[in-house]
Symmetry: C2
Subunit: 125 residues, 2 copies
DNA sequence: TGTCTATGTTGACGCTTGTCGATACAGGTG
DNA sequence: CACCTGTATCGACAAGCGTCAACATAGACA
């Protein structure tokens, strides 16, 4: 989980968001620092519009989507842009401009880290 | 805390009994209702204090903890109570009064559902 | 009964957030 | 060049949220 270099892109503006931040929630109490880091990611998914946008990108063909493909979520265009920026700042998405359009794609390592964080302790079951 | 081995970890038993809310984020775009439901849970974990409280309960012996055991997170007692209420309303914790103390415990099915929601489809690379 | 401790509720405060319209910027096309 | 489309930023507003002190409630025990 430390360096799964599945993606050739690493010029993102989110510097530390990719690092394995925390152990599973059930393993030991979070420190204040860990909680701060992890809460930032959960908070990013804590809005319905952002969650829909993220799901639209994540489920799109090739794991990426142009803004024009996903901007029909019931809010204005500036609001869509605002939420995409938030997701990017949280390290969940990366963006790349290709000609006229901007493409967003999911950061799978972060997604995996959050998933691990939510796993119950396997406890030798 | 007499019963120490109570955590029912339902990892691969019956997936349909675990996911009342949503498919994995990568499977298909969320509907507005699904996003609303899931975002409520993510939002509950989107605060550092709540995340620490949740982690304290989840990692505590027996999967449950008295408020007095976890209330040292740097905020006042009413604030702790407020956050525990939020986690309860989000379905992440349940509470039970036993004599003088109130015990909180994690809702493992919800935790598992959130974890599944974050899983990447293994073929999506 | 009264008192003490543990926890929840209320009300108020400031800060953050989601939203929009207006505007700016980037890139393609004619 | 001018013009158009796609996307980001700005400025402002209302609503929501985290926090606390004060108070209320519940149970234990003398």
């Amino acid at each position: 989980m430390s360096n799964t270099k599945v993606l050739p892109l690493l010029e993102s503006e989110a510097p530390e968001a990719v690092a394995p931040c925390c152990p599973p929630l059930t393993e030991r109490p979070f420190t204040a620092e860990e909680a701060e880091t992890a809460a930032r990611m959960f908070k990013a998914l804590g809005d319905p519009v952002r969650l829909r946008l993220f799901s639209l990108v994540a489920s799109h063909e090739g794991g990426e989507a142009c803004v024009c493909d996903i901007s029909d979520v019931g809010v204005s265009q500036p609001t869509v842009s605002h939420h995409l920026k938030k997701l990017k700042e949280a390290g969940l998405l990366t963006s790349e401009r290709r000609g006229t359009w901007v493409y967003y794609r999911v950061e799978p390592s972060v997604l995996a880290a959050m998933g691990k964080l939510l796993t119950m302790a396997p406890a030798a079951a």
